[in-house]
């Protein structure tokens, strides 16, 4: 008797469940990406041209800077979160929970505390950005160096360490902020709150180069990332040096988080939202679909959201607050849904 005969009743069971529902495979992933790209271009075109009057050159230039900033921020937020999810084999925790944004806040607060607002303005923005990025990557290295030693709990231990660091950094920042002069505190708050429309234009070319290089590096490894997303044990079984890949990818995550935060300040739930929606929209697990989809979802959210906010709702609020609110709600929804299972 062959094993085939054993299986036949099961197949009957399968068929009894009826035809497969309209699943993720009915619309190919590339078509979804193309549609998203078209939507992003449409949003950008609308945002750039809608109601331009007065000094046209100035307005368009200003809006172009905003769109370019959003391109970088969407890339950094979406890609860093997807990479983090892939390497840590989870889809709930994000880089910000590793204390990276808290570190950004601490660095900013330290700078204001030590040098004052005047001293801070004296530092060239590019130098400030480079030093911040370097600090973030060093932090990531210190944190991840002893990780992935093969013990099952080590990743969770590291996450826990990250959370503790986050709390520590926040407390230190708050302590220093209490001691600040009210005017300086006010100026610091301005720097810490994400404002997509007031990014530092001097930084843009620098971060654009960094982001393009990262993009190339990651794209060349999309098949490797597919394997890594199966989790450490399966990846090792398939011959992947998981530890090395994970440490490198987490360094890239640190770089991207610092790029994004240096440009527009902390946006805790933006990356989570872009990545989570992308998993649903892409319908495929491969990174060659997920990464572009996450980037485009993020871009549409930022540019489209800004357009709606400015021209439909008449500047009724700040985009980052809206994104944080929806992203946070989405985060809670997924957290609760996971807990309910």
């Amino acid at each position: 008797m062959s094993a085939e005969q054993d299986v036949r009743p099961e197949q009957g069971e399968e068929q009894a469940r009826g035809p497969r529902r309209l699943g993720p495979r009915t619309v190919p992933a590339w078509a979804r990406i193309a549609a998203l790209a078209a939507l992003a271009v449409l949003c950008a075109a609308l945002y750039l041209t809608y109601g331009v009057s007065g000094n046209v050159a100035y307005v368009v230039e200003r809006r172009t800077t905003v769109v370019l900033t959003m391109l970088v921020v969407a890339f950094a937020g979406a890609v860093s979160t997807v990479l983090f999810h892939t390497v840590t084999d989870n889809r709930i925790l994000t880089p910000s929970i590793m204390g990276m944004e808290a570190l950004f806040v601490l660095v900013q607060t330290c700078l204001v505390f030590v040098f004052g607002i005047a001293g801070l303005s004296a530092l060239p923005p590019v130098a400030a950005f480079l030093s911040q990025t370097a600090l973030m990557v060093v932090f990531a290295l210190l944190l991840f160096q002893r990780m992935f030693t093969g013990g099952i709990g080590s990743l969770h231990l590291t996450l826990l360490v990250g959370i503790v660091f986050g709390v520590l950094f926040n407390s230190l920042s708050r302590l220093m902020q209490r001691l600040l002069d009210p005017n300086e505190y006010d100026a610091l708050q301005g720097r810490l709150f994400a404002r997509l429309t007031r990014a530092d234009a001097d930084l843009l070319p620098w971060v654009a180069v960094a982001v393009v290089l990262v993009g190339i590096y990651v794209w060349r490894r999309h098949r490797l990332l597919d394997v890594v997303s199966l989790g450490r044990e399966t990846a090792v079984n398939l011959g992947v040096d998981h530890r090395r890949v994970a440490v490198r990818m987490l360094m890239i995550v640190a770089l991207l988080v610092s790029v994004s935060t240096a440009l527009v300040g902390p946006m805790t739930f933006f990356g989570f939202m872009a990545a989570t929606l992308a998993y649903q929209v892409a319908g495929r697990h491969e990174h060659r679909y997920v990464l572009p989809t996450a980037f485009l979802v993020g871009l549409c959210t930022l540019v489209g959201g800004q357009f709606v906010l400015e021209h439909v709702l008449g500047h009724a609020g700040t985009l980052s607050v809206v994104i944080e609110f929806t992203g946070g709600a989405l985060f809670l929804y997924f957290l609760l849904r996971k807990a309910a299972r």
């Binding site: 094993a3 399968e14 490797l224 394997v227 079984n237 011959g239 697990h285």
Partner: protein, 252 residues
């Protein structure tokens, strides 16, 4: 040949593997049995280089597990753990395709695709190939995982409790497929197994472990005796010859 020399592993103060030296020859099915906490799964996991040992050496065909290049090693030995949960949503065919990664680094050739289809066919998964893993029953999912490691086309296949959560029918069919993989595909299969009677009926060799050491090693006829089983499991087992296999009766 898999060769273990003085292999040790400790978790804190408890010693899980206490200087295990062992040879597993090429070919056939080898079952590892023993009570809970004997170190069976730990040993298998270290051989499969998913866990680092604290002392000793493991070589597979002369390749040192700690130093062998990952990709080359993955073409020679594959391991399947008992718990496999993926955060990504995969179809059966997606999963089995990953088995070709060590050979093609994700760029599947015509030969790779043929191997994927062969592995799907071998485990009777063709009708389910387009289904998502989370739509399958436990037994079907287990078959899909085994198909992935078979698709990896390694000489050595290590399976950690492949019968976990399978009902009688699926357990029998899984053991038959394992037997077939050894006989018709020439694989060396090492399984950690709890049911001594499955081990007796389907293996060529049985390794019995107790308290982090190899207590006995031999053919099913040598291991399946009341004296040996009493020593290993600390339980009275009556062994009888049923249908050509030695069956242990220990239920009452």
């Amino acid at each position: 040949m898999i060769e273990l020399t003085e292999l040790t592993k400790t978790y804190g103060s408890s010693t899980v593997l206490d200087g295990v030296s062992l040879r597993i020859e090429r070919g056939g099915v080898t079952s590892i049995i023993g009570p809970n906490g004997a170190g069976k799964s730990t040993m298998l996991t270290i051989i499969g280089r998913l866990l680092a040992s604290d002392g000793g050496r493991v070589t597979v065909d002369g390749m040192d597990v700690d130093r062998a290049p990952g990709r080359e090693f993955a073409k020679r030995l594959s391991i399947l753990r008992q718990e496999n949960q993926f955060t990504t949503r995969l179809t059966v065919r997606d999963l089995v395709r990953f088995g070709r990664y060590p050979h093609s680094q994700g760029r599947l050739t015509a030969e790779d695709h043929a191997q994927v289809e062969a592995a799907l066919g071998f485990l009777d998964l063709v009708p389910l190939a387009g289904r998502f893993l989370d739509e399958l029953s436990g037994g079907q999912r287990q078959r899909a995982y085994v198909a992935m490691v078979l698709c990896q086309d390694t000489d050595y296949v290590l399976l950690d409790e492949p019968l976990n959560n399978l009902d009688m029918k699926h357990a029998v069919s899984m053991m038959r497929q394992i037997r077939r993989a050894a006989d018709s595909l020439g694989k060396t299969v090492v399984v950690v197994i709890h049911d001594i009677n499955f081990a007796s009926a389907y293996s060529d060799r049985i390794i019995a472990m107790r308290e982090g050491r190899v207590a006995y090693s031999g053919t099913p006829a040598e291991i399946m005796t009341s004296e040996v089983l009493l020593d290993v499991f600390d339980l009275e087992v009556r062994v009888e010859e049923v249908g050509g296999a030695r069956i242990g009766v220990y239920y009452r």
